[in-house]
Point group: C2
Chain length 261, copies 2
Amino acid sequence: MSGDDGRPLGRLSVVGVGPAGPEWLTPEVAARLEAATDLVGYGPYLERIAGAHHRVHASDNREELARATHALDMAAEGRDVAVVSGGDPGVFAMAAAIFEALEGAPAGRWEDVEVDVAPGVSAMQAAAARLGAPLGNDFCVISLSDNLKPWSLIQRRVRLAAEADFAMAFYNPISRSRPWQLGEALGIVREVQGPDTLVVLATAVGRGEREDVQISTLGEVDPAAANMSTLVIVGATSTRVLERPSGRRHVYTPRYVEAAQ
Amino acid sequence: MSGDDGRPLGRLSVVGVGPAGPEWLTPEVAARLEAATDLVGYGPYLERIAGAHHRVHASDNREELARATHALDMAAEGRDVAVVSGGDPGVFAMAAAIFEALEGAPAGRWEDVEVDVAPGVSAMQAAAARLGAPLGNDFCVISLSDNLKPWSLIQRRVRLAAEADFAMAFYNPISRSRPWQLGEALGIVREVQGPDTLVVLATAVGRGEREDVQISTLGEVDPAAANMSTLVIVGATSTRVLERPSGRRHVYTPRYVEAAQ
């Protein structure tokens, strides 16, 4: 492609390939990947979807802004670049990083690059579907990582969300350098909600034998059972377990809330 | 299928077909629809996906519990039933209604029916992708309908979400019988956040010429411009517009929040 003045017109697609496997990858994303000349993203995601015609640019999962810059540079050279996120690129993933890079760019840099975002199934949705419908009423979505925002803000958001009796989905609950944050966040909820409030640790949902879903409560959960692949769901007051005759346990939040609450 | 004692074993899949068009329908959902003998859901969703081999059971969009009962009855007869939601069935949709019906059932009813949920792209994700990344940091998801919960609880949740400086996605913002709720909810946010806070009315995203995305502010938005097909996004303090040299306007929320905030 080229513009009226002969300069190349690049394209950058920010796509979400879902939290695991091809069954959650949308046709829109499949088409954008097929059209792309270059794939940019975290190595394990790219391995799942790279084709023979792709140039693959794998990077570490923490270098989002450097990755965004590299992707925009290639698009400005006229390549058709797909920036790949697991889950949904709009939920704690690469879409915001691309716009941060664009906004911080010197005037004129990347000005011919067109950016499009294609949504995907996010980890909280895959976890929720496995369980039943724990996010079936109002809910909040919070990243517990304080790499890019102050921990005091995260504390405040968790506390207000508990006071509002939202169900919650926690992303980035724990890492090697942040082993204490999930426990502290659950402790904040515990100051507001009862010990029987449901907590689910949903790890690697959709990834076969690695998948592990633990249904627990605020009073009993062990935060150390979570890892970087865990999506944490904290129930609202009305969230409950439904055990079926088969023994299977579902977790869901009804659509209704009684006026008495 | 039949069990050891010869009784039919039914299957019920609750599936999300995305907010529009086939490009957001996952392969998992496509496979479940293909396997299903019976489709249950809101008529316009079913028209999008019914095949020649399906028995189609269309109903009005407000009769979720009656629809759930009908679907479970058919599954108990040994049919392979797909209950179809637009968007994600776990977000203000049919998954919770199915579990409500199961929990309220007399002992023994539907006991052999196995229920599975398949996630889909939700309306907020399609809207967010069209805009850029407005939900790129912590956010809340709230249904403004008080059909099933008290309006006082919705008011409280909106106020606490504003105090927490979450971005927000409002589902069911308005209907013929509830023309005032979106305006009142935005008014609550306005008591906490400044008039420059971004508000987006994203109507019928993905539905061709019907799609209409309006970027406005708390100070200027006209709630009457929303309808039943509108997904409303209210920005956090840090949510901003990025206008590209092409004239295209993106809305995004950075991943970072300054400590000063």
